[in-house]
C-alpha cells in the first residue's frame, strides 16, 4: 500500500444511514494515492454515489472519518475542501457563458482578471474547446458540455477531482471517446480522480484501481486486470465481464486446488480454491467463456464434460455458443472465428474442456 504521505484520500470505517434504520454504506475503507484514478463501480443503490457525496461534503458521514491529505474533513464545509467535481448532468450554469462558467471558481477565489482569462483559455484549450468561450451551455452538444464540465472542475487546479457518472448521458461512441479523453487529461495533469460509474467497461478502461460496491460494502478493490481475472467472490465474478457459473459441493481440498462435484450430475471437476468454506460446503465455480475450449478429446484438458449445443449466434469475430452442461443450459462458450475453427451445429453434442487454473471456486 502507498506510504502515508502519498495517500491523498482516506476513508476510515465510514458508515452512512439516511433513516437511522438501514445502512447505505457499511464500514467503508479506502485509501487513494496521490495521482491515482480510482473508480467506485457498482449497481445503482450500492452506496457508491453516497460515498462520493460524503467525500465532496454534501452528505455527512454517520460514523467514521474521511481524511484529505491527512486532515480529517468531516467538519469542513464543501466549499472549503477544494475538491473539483463533475456532475452527472454537468450542472453547467445555464445563465453564464462557457467562459463565465470556467471563470466562476477563479472569481470566488479572488484572482485577477488577467490571470483568470489566461487560465480560462488554457482550460478551454485543454479540452479542445478554444473559441467556444462566448457560447451558452445550451448551445453546445452533450459531449462539448461534458468537456466544459471537466474543464471547470480542473481550472482551479484542485488536487482531487470527483466524477459522478459523468458520461451517463452520452451516446455510446461519444462515451468511449470521452473515456480516453478523461484518461489522457488525468495522465497529463497528474490529478487524483475518484470516479463513480455503473458501467464496467468504463471502469476497466480508465482506472488504476476499481472498488466494486454491492450492498454498501466494497466487494473487491483491485486493478482492472486482477478484478477480471481473479475475482474474489461470486458477485464480482458475475458483475465484471461475462461469466459462467456452475454450482457444486467441495469434496476435497488439495493445496490451492479443490475437487468439486457438480450439481446436475456433471461429475467431478478440479478448480482453483479461492473462496470456499471447506470440504462439504457449496460453491460457485466461475469460468470465463473465452477460457473454455470446445471440441476437446477426453483427457486433453484437466476438466472436460459433454455439452449439447443449444444456440449459435454469429458475432463476426467470434461465435457465441450457448450449450447445456451438467443441467445448466446457460453456459456460454466463445468460439473464435479463426482459420479452421470448430464448426458446430445446433443440437450437436460435443465435448468442452478447461484448465483448473481458469476455474475459480467461490462462495455460493
Amino acid at each position: 500500500m502507498a506510504k502515508a504521505s502519498d495517500t491523498l484520500v482516506k476513508f476510515e470505517s465510514v458508515q452512512k444511514s439516511y433513516d437511522g434504520e438501514t445502512l447505505v454504506v457499511k464500514d467503508f475503507n479506502l485509501e487513494v494515492a496521490r495521482g491515482e484514478f480510482v473508480t467506485m463501480l457498482g449497481p445503482s443503490g450500492s452506496g457508491k454515489t453516497t460515498c462520493l457525496m460524503m467525500l465532496a461534503g454534501f452528505e455527512p458521514a454517520t460514523h467514521g472519518e474521511i481524511y484529505l491529505d491527512g486532515v480529517p474533513i468531516n467538519k469542513v464545509p464543501p466549499h472549503k475542501r477544494g475538491i473539483g467535481m463533475v456532475f452527472q448532468n454537468y450542472a453547467l450554469f445555464p445563465h453564464m457563458t462557457v467562459a463565465e462558467n470556467l471563470a466562476f471558481p477563479l472569481e470566488v477565489r479572488r484572482m485577477g482578471k488577467a490571470e483568470i482569462s489566461e487560465k480560462v483559455n488554457d482550460a478551454l484549450d485543454m479540452v479542445r474547446l478554444g473559441g467556444f468561450g462566448d457560447r451558452r451551455p445550451s448551445q453546445l452538444s452533450g459531449g462539448q458540455q461534458q468537456r466544459v464540465a471537466v474543464a471547470r472542475a480542473l481550472v482551479f487546479r484542485p488536487q482531487l477531482v470527483l466524477m459522478d457518472e459523468p458520461l451517463g448521458a452520452l451516446d455510446k461512441n461519444l462515451r468511449e471517446e470521452m473515456q480516453y479523453e478523461i484518461k489522457h487529461i488525468h495522465e497529463e495533469l497528474q490529478v487524483t480522480v475518484v470516479y463513480v460509474t455503473h458501467d464496467q467497461s468504463e471502469a476497466l478502461t480508465m482506472s488504476n484501481r476499481i472498488a466494486v460496491f454491492d450492498d454498501g460494502i466494497v466487494q473487491q478493490l483491485a486493478p482492472p486486470d486482477e478484478l477480471y481475472e481473479k475475482p474474489e467472490n461470486a458477485f464480482v465474478a458475475g458483475f465484471i465481464g461475462e461469466n459462467n457459473r456452475l454450482y457444486g459441493e467441495v469434496k476435497a481440498i488439495d493445496g490451492d486446488f479443490c475437487q468439486v462435484e457438480l450439481e446436475g450430475g456433471g461429475g467431478m471437476v478440479k478448480a482453483l480454491c479461492v473462496n470456499v468454506d471447506g470440504v462439504g460446503s457449496r460453491t460457485t465455480l466461475s469460468l470465463r467463456p473465452e477460457r473454455v475450449t470446445i471440441g476437446v478429446s477426453e483427457g486433453q484438458s484437466t476438466n472436460s464434460l459433454e455439452a449439447k449445443v443449444e444456440e449459435l449466434i454469429y458475432l463476426g469475430d467470434h461465435i457465441r455458443s450457448r450449450v447445456s452442461l451438467s443441467g445448466n443450459d446457460e453456459f456460454i462458450v466463445k468460439v473464435p472465428n479463426s482459420h479452421g475453427h470448430v464448426h458446430l451445429k445446433e443440437g450437436e453434442v460435443t465435448r468442452i474442456g478447461w484448465e483448473a487454473e481458469d476455474c475459480r471456486a467461490l462462495d455460493a
Partner: protein, 419 residues
C-alpha cells in the same frame, strides 16, 4: 424520383398544387380547433371585449348637444366666437330648449355641459323651463335676461365646442386638464387636481405591494421547492387556503385584525408596545390597503416562483459550492439569477392585478388608501359620468399595456414562466 413542378409550383401526386393540397388536408383540423375554442371566444367577446370597446367609445362619445340641440348646433356652425351670437342662434336655441323640455331630454345636455363648466346644468334646465313661455321673437334679449350666463361668451364657446360628435374632454378631465375661457387646454386649478395624483398613488402602491410580495414569497417558495414532498404539500395548502377563501371574507378578516379595537392592536397593548390611548391606526388608510392587498396577492407571486424553483436542480448549488463559492455567493450568483423568470412573472402578475384592484381598497382603504379603480367605480355608480369613467379606465388599460411592453423590452416575455 424528382418533384413534379408546374411553373415553379410544387405539385402533389394528383397534380394539384402541393400548398392547396396541404391546406385541404389541414382544413378539417383547423375547423375542429376553431369549434373547440368557439364557446370561450364568444364568451370573451360578449362579456369582455364588447364592454371594453363600448366603454372606450363612451370616453370620446359626445352625442348630447349635437343630437338634442340640432338647430343650435347648425346655427353655431359658422359663429366666429368673438362676440355673443346673433338672433338666428337664439331663435334656434329657444326652439331646441322648447323641444328638449317637452321631451324631457334637455337635462342630459345640461349634465354633459356641466362636466365642462359647473353651473351650466342649472342654466340649461331653468332656461328650458322658462323657454316654454317665449312665444315669439326676437329672442336674443329675452334669452339674455333668462339667465345671466347666457351673456357670458364662455358659455357659447363651450356649447359650440360640444356640438362636435367626439370629444377629448373626458380624457382632459382624467389627466387633470381642462379648457380655459378661450378654449385653450390648461391644467386644472391645483386644488381640483385629483386623478394624476391618484394614478401616481396607484402605481406607487402597486409597486410597493409587488416588492413586498417578492420579499415575502421568495423564502416561502424556496422552502416549498426544497422541502420533502410530504411537508411541501402541507405548506402548499397553507399558501393556497387563503386563495380558495372568498376575497370579501379575507378582506373583512383583515378589518377585524387591524382595526383600532382589533386583534393586532389588542396584542400590542397587551405586550405594552403601544399605550391604550395611542392605538395604531392600521386600517382605512394606506397601511391597511397595502397589508390586505399583499396578503391577497401573495399566492400570485408564490406560485410562479415555486414553479421556477422546482425546475432548478440542486446540483447547480452543489456545483457552485464544490467550485469554492461560499453558500451566500453561490445563492446570489447562481440560484437567484435562475429564478429571475419566476420573479418577473410573479411581479408582472401582482403589479397588473393590484393596479386594477377594487374591492379591498374600497373596504379597507379609507380616503388615503383608495386607488384609481375606486374612482372609476364612483363615476360608474354614483356620479354616473360614464364618459369620465371610460376615459380613466382606458388610461389604466393602456398604461398596463405600456408596462407590459416595457417589461417585455427589459426582461423579455419569453423568459417569463408561469408554471
Amino acid at each position: 424520383m424528382t418533384d413534379q413542378t408546374a411553373g415553379g409550383v410544387v405539385l402533389a401526386a394528383d397534380g394539384t398544387p402541393l400548398k392547396a393540397s396541404l391546406n385541404r388536408a389541414l382544413r378539417k383540423s383547423r375547423i375542429r380547433a376553431l369549434l373547440l375554442v368557439a364557446p370561450l371566444l364568444l364568451f370573451i367577446l360578449f362579456s369582455f371585449l364588447i364592454p371594453i370597446f363600448d366603454m372606450m367609445f363612451r370616453s370620446v362619445d359626445n352625442w348630447h348637444v349635437g343630437t338634442l340641440m340640432p338647430k343650435t348646433s347648425a346655427a353655431l356652425a359658422d359663429w366666429d366666437g368673438k362676440a355673443l351670437p346673433e338672433e338666428p342662434v337664439f331663435a334656434a336655441l329657444v326652439a331646441d330648449l322648447q323641444a328638449g323640455a317637452k321631451s324631457r331630454e334637455i337635462g342630459k345636455v345640461g349634465r354633459r355641459l356641466n362636466y365642462e363648466k359647473s353651473g351650466m346644468r342649472s342654466m340649461v334646465v331653468s332656461s328650458a323651463r322658462k323657454s316654454k313661455r317665449l312665444k315669439n321673437g326676437p329672442y336674443k334679449a329675452k334669452v339674455l335676461k333668462m339667465h345671466k350666463k347666457w351673456r357670458d361668451l364662455e358659455t357659447w364657446t363651450v356649447i359650440k365646442r360640444n356640438t362636435a360628435p367626439y370629444t377629448i374632454g373626458y380624457y382632459l378631465n382624467a389627466v387633470d386638464m381642462k379648457y380655459d375661457k378661450n378654449g385653450d387646454i390648461v391644467m386644472q386649478n391645483k386644488n381640483r387636481r385629483i386623478y394624476g395624483k391618484l394614478f401616481l398613488r396607484t402605481f406607487a402602491i402597486s409597486l410597493a405591494i409587488t416588492v413586498i410580495c417578492v420579499i415575502l414569497a421568495y423564502p416561502i417558495s424556496f422552502l416549498l421547492a426544497t422541502l420533502p414532498l410530504r411537508y411541501s404539500n402541507l405548506l402548499m395548502i397553507f399558501v393556497l387556503l387563503p386563495f380558495w377563501t372568498s376575497l370579501l371574507v379575507r378582506t373583512t378578516a383583515w378589518i377585524a385584525m387591524l382595526q383600532s379595537q382589533g386583534v393586532l392592536n389588542d396584542l400590542f397593548v397587551f405586550f405594552g408596545f403601544v399605550a391604550e390611548e395611542n392605538r395604531l391606526q392600521l386600517i382605512h388608510n394606506l397601511t391597511g390597503t397595502i397589508i390586505a392587498m399583499t396578503h391577497i396577492l401573495l399566492p400570485f407571486m408564490v406560485l410562479p416562483l415555486y414553479s421556477v424553483m422546482k425546475t432548478i436542480p440542486p446540483t447547480y448549488m452543489r456545483a457552485a459550492l464544490s467550485l469554492g463559492a461560499n453558500p451566500v455567493v453561490a445563492f446570489v450568483r447562481i440560484y437567484m439569477p435562475l429564478t429571475l423568470a419566476g420573479i418577473g412573472a410573479g411581479s408582472i402578475l401582482v403589479f397588473i392585478l393590484s393596479i386594477g384592484y377594487y374591492i379591498t381598497p374600497a373596504l379597507v382603504g379609507g380616503t388615503g388608501g383608495t386607488l384609481i379603480s375606486n374612482q372609476i367605480a364612483y363615476h360608474m355608480q354614483s356620479s354616473l359620468n360614464w364618459g369620465l369613467a371610460g376615459a380613466l379606465g382606458a388610461i389604466l388599460l393602456f398604461s398596463v399595456l405600456g408596462f407590459y411592453l416595457l417589461y417585455n423590452k427589459i426582461v423579455g416575455i419569453d423568459n417569463m414562466k408561469l408554471g
